[in-house]
């Protein structure tokens, strides 16, 4: 077999493999990401592009989840409507429906307690990634303040599911990971 046939065959193989990876990564595909493009794999420009795209999605999702977790942990009794509006702005279904259903209950509880809750992200990491969604572990330092006493600081473990909506990221689910 002529050498050029072998070379052409190898090139086609690489292109097909890269194409499969690219298809997996198309927005809306929804599969867990992606094909193996890891250390030691043959480097092609297509694979490198897909790898960079996956890396970008991963890092965007992580940053978005951190920001959203902070927003959803922040509420001031003196600015309830604005705070609850922000909760809804960073959320999507099914979390959004839950927040809307509980909005008045949350407002009443917070007004009664007179608390201000703020949060700072401590650490975050992606545990599942697709082209348009991710589960992200987010650790928050949460401070609850009121006029009655010293602020109470706690560490909260959360899993935030973020999904792409209209070119941005919103939370579709949020779970506080209590021990036990």
């Amino acid at each position: 077999m002529p050498p050029w046939v072998v070379v052409l065959g190898a090139l086609l193989g690489v292109l097909v493999a890269a194409g499969v990876v690219a298809l997996l990564f198309l927005p809306g595909a929804g599969q867990d990401l992606p094909g193996d493009a890891g250390a030691g794999s043959p480097s092609t420009s297509a694979a490198a592009t897909v790898g960079a795209s996956v890396a970008a999605t991963r890092d965007e999702a992580r940053r978005a989840a951190e920001d959203i977790a902070v927003t959803l942990a922040t509420l001031d009794a003196d600015g309830l409507d604005a705070g609850l509006d922000r909760w809804e702005q960073v959320s999507t279904s099914p979390l959004l429906e839950t927040l809307r259903e509980r909005r008045s209950e949350v407002a009443d509880d917070t007004r009664r307690a007179g608390t201000t809750t703020t949060a700072v992200p401590s650490s975050a990491a992606v545990s599942r990634l697709t082209a348009d969604s991710a589960d992200v572990l987010v650790v928050l330092r949460v401070t609850v303040s009121s006029d009655d006493g010293d602020p109470v600081v706690s560490t909260r473990r959360e899993v935030v599911t973020v999904v792409r909506v209209d070119g941005g990221w919103r939370a579709g689910a949020l779970t506080v990971q209590d021990p036990g």
């Binding site: 493009a37 890891g38 917070t110 589960d135 109470v152």
Partner: protein, 176 residues
Amino acid sequence: MYTRPAKRIRPPDDQLFVSLIRTMCAAVPVAVALGAAPASAAQDPSNLAFVDAVGTQQIIDWVRRTVGRALTYEYRHLDDLERFVADVGTTAYIGRQDAHLDDDRTTLTRQKIVVTARVVGVGVRDLRADRAQLLVYWDQTRTRGDVDRTETTGSASIVEIRMVDGTWKLDGLTPA
């Protein structure tokens, strides 16, 4: 969500736990010096987490299996923990843990400490060919047998692992 007061996540307070954390923490400056991703790492295409899907899943599975076991111990069988860590830890990690375990063995035995740890969440922050950094949620049920008291706590930790002779090894763990 703020609506209910969050349960405070308290680290277990027994001495071996503290020793385990001390042992693992000592590796962190090394990891930082070697270039492990900072908490607010910007977009980093050289980070292979999820880019290398197979490698990512492998370290998630390995950490899920290993970290829970490495934080589980019983006062009557501390040698089992030593043997396990000797198998899954880096040389530096093993040395640190052995030293701390020697310090705490008497107290653990007197208090009849039994601890079971379970990993409940794993995220990958950074993956390179020879090292990785993960965020791990783990729960720990601790029984102090001398006073018959049991409590369950939750922790979040940054876990550092390194590739040694083709095998992943536990190198560090520090509170997240």
